[in-house]
Subunit: 490 residues, 4 copies
């Protein structure tokens, strides 16, 4: 597609998505490329190595959610050195922080994450080689995520300072995205309240601004307490907690036919009894439920809880539910996405050296899935698509508070599965760092646009108001629930 | 075994059963055989043909529970002719009646039944030949049951009249034993209240007085009401009543491990949805639960009801339970059983003619089970055994109100399965009638013993008091529930 | 929307649906309205009453699938009178027939149906009044369906004859659409083989040509055979067929999470045991599975069969599957739909008299659903939408053999639920007949277009070839399976 | 009961148990009490303190199954010092050994065990005080078991040596009784093959020789392997191993109704998925099945395996079964039990000091069960009872190879629950040691009887032959399966 076609298609999608909408937000066209921005990009090229090193250090730390002490310290130190003011221990989380520079409106935020995933330790090699057995690894590339966002924040700060432009740039250090819901507790503490727009990105296998939503998610552990008894000697005296888990699971399975098609319910049994010859007096399931729309998810969740209560009733056991985490569905922002798409096109994709090409080819040999994404696609930028992905993220909660948009860059070899050792490998070597630079530049350009062109912010706000219309944000995590700082402990 | 051994063994069993009991009731030995009783038996021989004809007529009527209009009328007419006073429509049941003769205490009752079983119509032939397709038949031999009891009642009446002995003999016309629970409603109406002892028998494959109990039983239909929806178009709008049936069944199956070993729970699904393309808004299960002890059964039943409630809760349906029937576990009476055993031995077993032997041999070829009961065993009388059978009967409810005992005679060829066309065949021909005469004579002798020897009644009462100690009879059928007069309608 | 907008939107949809397609078939625009066609419509007005009467007669016959003897006879008689040649007993079905007029190519077919639905008998009144208790009724309006198609066929015949145009018009008398799959057996007999295009319609609540597909469907009964035993006496000797049904159902429920989202699986239990005190030796489930794509459905169905086999294995029972019916997903035809849309717009919607308006208002008071379709919408014609409906139809099988298209007209008051007594009522009175006339006229205009403009047929063929590309039609109904002529018997 | 009554009752039980048997084995009465045996007992009193110390050391070692290195070494050292010949590493098990003294027939064996139970560490105190958190403890009193058996072996050796009696006494050091099945592998190695009789005992809450059997047992892990997939993104690509576990469990639960009443089936889920957002590709259940009769258990087990196979079939997963352990039902020996009962009566029960009485009273306050066993009952000896317990033991496998009998002594305060911290406490203090001395003396007296009175051995053999008649011993543990030496590792 040429450029005109791209714009046409994007408009078309926006039309279809916002059926009956007024002139599409963002459609008056983003700010034309300024000389200033060229200069900005050139200056960023000067610190690529420095930020690349940071990303490798955090990749080596490989700290899991809420335990990202060294990773957070490294980023804080770098931002402090660049003149940012730090608010630490945000929301009672030791590794959450906000770094702010500048003054007055607008306030533009950029989200950064830096938590690793258990069990995904891997060398920066194209074959499976854990750096440490069963240790965590950056299989989601958050080492790149946090650093690119910091990189962009510093670049924007320098630009504002140099050009003497008023306004505020803010970096959000967000821990425990992977199931810990760090942003929920930061949001509860008001960290996002005085922001005009928020940008973020995520490592990926392609370059694309996102118009897509994510699934609202509620997760909880259902614990059943029964009565132990010798399973051969007096089973009639026992009340099996495992029976309760099975009744709950089955009732939920029967419910599957009677929920909307886009619902997702999945669970594991985390405790299924201690010894076969004892009627289990404790058993536990861990449930996730998801839907593109939080209020509908609420109704589905209430029915899952009924299944759990019914299981306790039928088996004469006692049930306790611990809500572990809950995130919203992401609210896409048409205007911000158009702007990100525009800037991403300007920055362009990722080109491999011969060595990187060889690495990519070798790595692709380890892929088992049937992914049609061709090698080479990392060089181009793809058109945003509406819809909703199949994942869930705590970025979604932010998107209900502030106009927020997201994009991906090709930090991973095309076709790399998510949360894989292959992703860890890419995130630790030059391919990952190249994608990271694309991200940092796109973030910086977009933040500057938002800081300098009030129409862009207005459009973002209009987009936000339109999509959020009639709904209020209220996290399903109980207000008295503390961040699960030890959720990664065994 | 010789006679001494028999008595020894019987005592032993009684000892074991009533551990720590005082001298076993009945153990002082039954009344020695009187000349009078020889005369009684001889006189009965004179009316064997008459009562045989009655049994054949009722066999041909083959009327199911609560619909035994002609059968009851026939028996009433015969008893009225013999001078009995009739109380009709007992407990609001058109085919229930009490026929009484004599005056004053003691009052000895004999139970009679006359309901047939659906689908067991059969000629009196040794090969499968229904008299009418899918019609009822006397596959439990109740045509013999009712008539032998009436035969005995008339014989006792004649004896009392002739010997000018005071006391009362009473025949109970009891409908719908097969699942209709007729005696429960007769008991509720007080029909058994002023009786000193009650005797009954049941057609069988051997001759034996019974020390055995039966299983208390509660039966109910669980009905679930959901929300219909097009199963392809909007399954998410449906709430499946069939899902509820499945959850209830599964929860109950999981409960099986956690009830006492001698519990029985069984069910069918009587309504499992109307059309596959509609989410079922109605579904129904029919449950039986049994245990040798009613209070324990109560606890088990309460848990089944919880499973049903849980199923409704989990599936967002509504549950209604209709208690269909409930009978007690039978309270054996050691003294009465000893007396029945004594008289049954006196009367002796059943001897076949050559023709009957051929019939028996032919019939046994149609048996598929692995029954060790040999042909010829119908000639002897077997020793009572304690324990409990696997069936349930409404005679049990009577046994908690009045000292009651029961015995079997070999009306069916040894090895005949219960509720079979083979049993129907036997009940309609000479083999059945021979067993019936053994029963009538045993009943008559025993009733006379009870009417003339106060020590026997005292022992029966002591036995009754000992076993019932600490428990009160209270039928689990709700007091406001009417006899299910149409329970056999489809 | 004005006319230009409509055309634009339609094109847009076609573009989106056939991504990357060559110039949309049908998009060169349908034949401009000819004077001839005005004349055709005027002539049809002259026989509206006659065909209205026929529709009422068939409404009164209300014959269920494969039993439509009088209904088929009436239509045959009318078509024979108009000079059509009749082929009867098509595919071995007494009520299936093909009526043909003319000669040579092209051959244009029009499908007609005339089966009623059990239990939906109703007067032509706005309140629930069955004409006969529990009797069938035309709750799907097939009385209108068959007659409109015959009406159109006769009109086309007259037009061809008068204008001396060569070509063939053919009416297909198709029994048992409602679950009997009549067209499958007609197709197997080659009835649709020499046709160039096929048109059909269906009574509805709106006027709209259809671009939508339907769900491929396989339905079967799974029968399990176990071993009976007394459920209290010797349950360990029994092997429960009901257990097998439960295992199968549960395994299938667990599978639900692991099939594509647009799959539909639904079942009822058609036999769940005979008596609670007998371990069931027979039990039966009736399953439907559906998916928008037949080959994918095949894979899902194979897994359901595995669940059934597993259930037999686990419960030591025997399983038999009887495939009851199977229809394909409908293959929409973009060119034919464009043509139908064009002609439907020309004919226009349905206008109510004051009396009809009152009837409609009264009837709508009996609707319980939350249908947004407003009263008055019956007057306009709506734009086709792609996608797939939630139902299944044997028209789909025809659509894989011949280019086929379908449309709806507002024979029912807007908001009328499908398969309802309200639909029966409408189908028997003037509102239904007005919609029927719209249908007949649209069919006639379109058939004439196809008979006279070769470009239209070419476009239809191209559309067909494109969508069917790479797939062959092969009914999943076994070749040796006869039409289930008695499937409506109880 | 006086002594005559006891003998009478015992005979009666034997009669009942061996219905139709010839004169009960052992019933000619055990050897009258000899002066020599009085001397034997007196000499044993001289080493009570020594063996008490050993038992306390092993109690402190508290080593779990197959890890009883120090415990076995201590016993070996003591027996070697007493002149026994040691065969070590029996059956390839480092902690299994056989210690033999003497020569020629008869050969009398005494079994000793010494493994502790995980998590039952406890001080010798009447309130809960673990010696080490979550550490093992002798909650089954095997520290007493092994030492009493060694104590008796040494006493018998001394007696034989002193009296110059020929014959052989043998101590079996048997590891891992608690679920490790040590004796199965010792038996496979032929360790019990040349023995004439084997005696053993078990710590308990009463003094009683055992006529009771135990349950045959088969245990296995069922492992299912499916296909992982993102549970929200592409659940349709996953095949859930947890689904397979659920189908297997449910099928087995439905089977429960259809196995003999005395069957026991119990299971836990040992692995129920790794993370809720991933379709589990691995899941595992751990099953036990038991029945009083091994061939019947085989049939039940085959059906459980079918349920597992069916689960794999229905869910498109793969199943692997690992048989973990299997023991026989114990074959009681009437003659040996009669002899043990006789000698146990001679030795008498356990008398508490004031301090022990206080300890017992305090400990009983921590009991929650409703045990009717009164304090004081430890002083008397109770009559053997037939039947079968609810547990399983690898002593059973020995009992099918050699005439074997067992008894209990009151090493635990009456009412102490099995496998409890209270049992650990008793096993470590004087109450446990008193019961151990009763056991050692009874074993010694009985072994001497068997070594000196050939009639006793003949009776034991006759008893053995009668009960085993027609059955051959063949362990269900595969011959190529090694002892699970690390089964207690986490």
């Amino acid at each position: 597609m040429n450029h005109i076609e791209r714009i046409f298609c994007f408009c078309l999608l926006a039309i279809l998505f916002c059926l009956g909408s007024k002139p599409p937000v963002g459609a008056f066209g983003p700010t034309p490329f300024a000389d200033d921005s060229t200069e900005l990009l050139q200056k960023m090229d000067g610190t690529v190595r420095h930020f690349g090193d940071l990303s490798r250090q955090i990749w080596e730390f490989a700290e899991v959610g809420y335990k990202e002490t060294k990773s957070a310290a490294l980023l804080k130190s770098d931002l402090r050195a660049a003149g940012f003011q730090l608010e630490e221990n945000v929301g009672g989380i030791p590794t959450a922080f906000v770094a702010t520079w500048g003054q007055g409106r607008p306030v533009i935020g950029i989200l950064g994450e830096y938590d690793a995933l258990p069990g995904l330790s891997q060398e920066d090699a194209a074959t499976r080689k854990p750096r440490a057995s069963a240790a965590p690894g950056h299989g989601c590339g958050h080492n790149l995520l946090g650093v690119a966002s910091a990189f962009a924040s510093v670049a924007v700060r320098n630009y504002l300072a140099e050009k003497k432009i008023s306004g505020t740039i803010r970096f959000y250090g967000c821990p425990a995205e992977e199931g810990g819901g760090g942003k929920i507790y930061m949001a509860r503490a008001g960290a996002f309240d005085r922001c005009d727009a928020i940008l973020t990105w995520h490592p990926g296998t392609r370059n694309r601004a996102s118009l897509s939503s994510s699934l609202a998610n509620i997760t909880a552990k259902f614990r059943f307490y029964g009565t132990a008894a010798h399973a051969a000697g007096s089973p009639e005296k026992g009340r099996s907690a495992l029976d309760a888990v099975m009744v709950m699971n089955l009732a939920t399975e029967l419910m599957r036919e009677h929920v909307p098609e886009s619902t997702r319910i999945h669970y594991i049994i985390t405790h299924g009894g201690a010894a076969p010859n004892v009627v289990p007096d404790f058993a536990e399931s861990f449930y996730y439920a998801r839907h593109p729309d939080m209020p509908i998810l609420d109704g589905i969740w209430a029915r899952i809880v009924k299944c759990a209560e019914a299981a306790a009733l039928a088996t004469e056991t006692r049930m306790e539910m611990e809500l572990v985490n809950s995130v919203y569905n992401l609210l896409p922002n048409d205007a911000l996405t158009a702007l990100l798409d525009h800037n991403l096109l300007r920055v362009g994709g990722v080109r491999y050296t011969g060595e990187e090409q060889s690495f990519a080819e070798a790595l692709r040999k380890t892929f088992t899935g049937e992914d049609a994404q061709p090698l080479g696609s990392q060089e181009s930028v793809q058109t945003p698509e509406a819809g909703h992905g199949s994942g869930s993220t705590d970025v979604a909660d932010v998107s209900w508070i502030v106009p927020t948009a997201e994009f991906n860059t090709a930090t991973f070899v095309p076709g790399t599965p998510g949360h894989s050792w292959q992703a860890t490998a890419c995130a630790g070597m030059s391919i990952g760092r190249k994608g990271m630079v694309v991200a940092a530049k796109t973030l910086a350009l977009t933040a500057v646009d938002l800081l300098t062109d009030p129409r862009q912010l207005e459009a973002a706000r209009a987009s936000f108001d339109k999509r959020r219309a009639g709904h209020e944000y209220l996290s399903r995590v109980p207000r008295d629930q503390n961040p699960p700082l030890n959720y990664r402990d065994q």
